[in-house]
Symmetry: C2
Subunit: 239 residues, 2 copies
């Protein structure tokens, strides 16, 4: 994959920050100096610095410079779109995915509305339980329009469906809306999860869009209360 110049500069600076070449609370060289050092224009340096800022590695302060942030203080921004596989790898836990359902069918009215489909469209319906350290903690219900995802197998579902869509199918996930609420546990939750005494689950509804604005996935992720954690790293935007 061809990288742009500013992405390369971002990667270099990012590495230098993470290996301690630039220490927390110290300042990066100025944009002019970086432009000279990398033999590029200042606007290109600025794009790289904006990426660093968006990812929580530096803080730009007008008329003073770019301060390296202390990564340990914020942990790692697990904000935005994160798949179960990435998450469990990051947490370094033993994990397993159990596929309970995998079928093509005509969805119920509610799912049809969520996916904005016509009456006779087929969807893939996948139900998976996620086990971490021997406990079944998360129940995932996914719906994909068959038009966009013609083939889906058990082994794909046991790994990452994201990976499959992005790498094998060549689809580009562009943005997603997430909604987090708490609801009473339903039949599936009781059946497929180790809920212990808990009567409620945290429900994360995820609407995933491609870069041509079509909705390609609706997912409901149901978490046992005590194991749920969501981290958001928000930068105050202008206006």
């Amino acid at each position: 994959m061809k990288q742009t110049k500013y992405q390369q500069i971002y990667n270099e600076l990012s590495s230098s920050i993470q290996d301690g070449t630039y220490k927390p609370n110290s300042k990066l060289p100025s944009e002019h100096e970086l432009a000279d050092a990398f033999g590029t224009s200042r606007e290109t340096i600025r794009k790289a610095l904006n990426l660093l800022s968006q990812n929580g590695l530096i803080q730009k302060i007008k008329a003073r410079g770019s301060v390296v942030l202390d990564l340990n203080r914020y942990e790692f921004p697990v904000s935005g779109l994160v798949s179960f596989k990435e998450l469990s790898e990051k947490m370094n836990r033993s994990s397993r995915t159990i596929v309970h359902q995998l079928e093509k069918k005509i969805p119920c009215k509610w799912v049809r509305e969520q996916l904005d489909l016509s009456d006779d469209s087929l969807v893939w319906h996948v139900v998976r339980a996620r086990e971490i350290d021997g406990e079944r903690i998360i129940l995932d219900r996914d719906y994909f329009p068959v038009d966009y995802v013609p083939e889906l197998t058990k082994s794909i579902c046991e790994n990452s469906i994201y990976d499959y869509l992005e790498n094998d199918m060549g689809l580009t996930v562009s943005y997603a809306k997430k909604e987090i609420v708490v609801e009473e546990a339903d039949e599936d939750d009781l059946l497929y999860l180790d809920l212990n005494e808990y009567k409620h689950v945290v429900v994360v509804r995820n609407y995933v869009y491609l870069n041509d604005t079509t909705l390609i996935e609706y997912t409901e992720s149901r978490h046992r209360l005590d194991k749920f954690r969501f981290v958001d790293f928000a930068r105050r935007e202008k206006q």
Copy 2:
């Protein structure tokens, strides 16, 4: 407040989208055309379009154009930093804030660590219950270092502390880390909230930073399970 050119263009385009001048699923004029129309350079137009994209108003598609998104489909992105006051106004509900505690004190060890303070620093400790439609739903516990927020009154707490910090104190909130977990209700929750049968609360921990990277506020917002809702609009970033 002096606005930049690209912010003005953002505002104009944003209005045109919201009043229907540009219809959902249609395309905006090309960047070259917009540059001519606004009598500016293309890079400036691109900054405005990037803002529109970040705010979920358009979707840029390479080699095709910028598509106007359907606002109703996503509701409004209530993502990122939102204060209780903004929220209740947006939801158009009758709401009230009850201040239970407002004192300067030496914080417990845990809060001192959260705020990264020295042993003898004083903090403001504020406890507020939030009532919506006659039910006490949210318990807010706020901690501010006295060094940064010398004065705080009951009436400020009944309105928005954010407003006070940003407008009256002239502090610029730059970014925030949010953590969402579910915990068992504690004594304060039972005392100050109408919890009904619920034994747990959704806890939103908020760490607020100024643009010089100092941590200026730690807030714990405790919500009754059934009334909690969090919406996140995430755009997949490059690399």
